[in-house]
Amino acid sequence: MMIKAEDRIRATVRADNTHIRLLLAHPMHSGRQLNKDNMLVNAEFIQDIRCWRNDNEVLVIKCGSGTSQNPYFSFELAGGQVGDTIAIRWVDNTGAKGDMEAIVDS
């Protein structure tokens, strides 16, 4: 059964900097787990996450299978203002992709 969940971005201006929180909806199977029937679950994990602010690439994250289920990241970007666009894209090892955009809130 597919888990119906969405990637989420929260971006706010905090003390002149942009504070960003990402929560991606992904099972992050390492390929070494067993399911109920003692069968290996196929590997399926995000390998590459990219984050843009207004068309500038600011952060590239390469993940291995040791990243937790539903990966979470929180960090700050220097400067920025309300109304900036924060965009992310991810690709997993099977080639599945996701993208998401958010506008910076106050």
Partner: protein, 164 residues
């Protein structure tokens, strides 16, 4: 007679629809995906099985200064972690010009958990979540800033391991 022509037509139809469906299958199966995107993943570093190999593959040969400049915390509460499936990790530092940051766990089957490339805009603190295997392990944070490597380690004990 009519039956035969219908049969032939049917065969042609089946043939045509088969080839069309195979093309569609190939197109959706990911074989035609741009390999460029996936090729950026540093396979050698992620498939390395010892911490030394990971550091060599990811950051090259460099003198590692075990640093007090990194402020690194693992788990809440630290030291004793109940659920290894999702352990929060936080890194903070006064260092400037951070280019790359990596998290490693020495006892995981493949030590490298993640590696990040920062643009000058990114500021710490940075928080994320990782999986840890059951038992004792060392979580290692490595930062490359201004051509130097800074490394710090934290010992943790996990009651229930994550699915690694």
């Amino acid at each position: 007679m009519t039956k035969i022509t219908i049969d032939i037509k049917r065969r042609i139809l089946i043939k045509k629809s088969l080839s069309a469906s195979t093309i569609a299958m190939v197109a959706t199966s990911g074989l035609l995906l741009p390999q460029r995107v996936l090729a950026h993943w540093p396979t050698k570093a992620f498939n390395a099985e010892t911490v030394e190999d990971v550091l060599l593959a990811l950051l090259g040969k460099a003198n590692i200064s075990s640093s007090e400049k990194l402020n690194f915390s693992v788990g809440k509460p630290a030291k004793r972690i109940a659920n290894g499936g999702s352990v929060s990790v936080e890194i903070n530092s006064e260092l400037e010009n951070i280019e790359r940051f990596a998290i490693l766990v020495d006892n995981n089957p493949f030590p490298l958990v993640m590696s990040m490339d920062f643009s000058p805009d990114v500021l710490l603190p940075l928080k994320t979540r990782i999986k840890l295997i059951k038992g004792k392990s060392q979580v290692i944070a490595v930062v490359r800033a201004g051509g130097k490597l800074y490394l710090t380690k934290r010992d943790v004990r996990v009651d229930t391991g994550g699915d690694i």
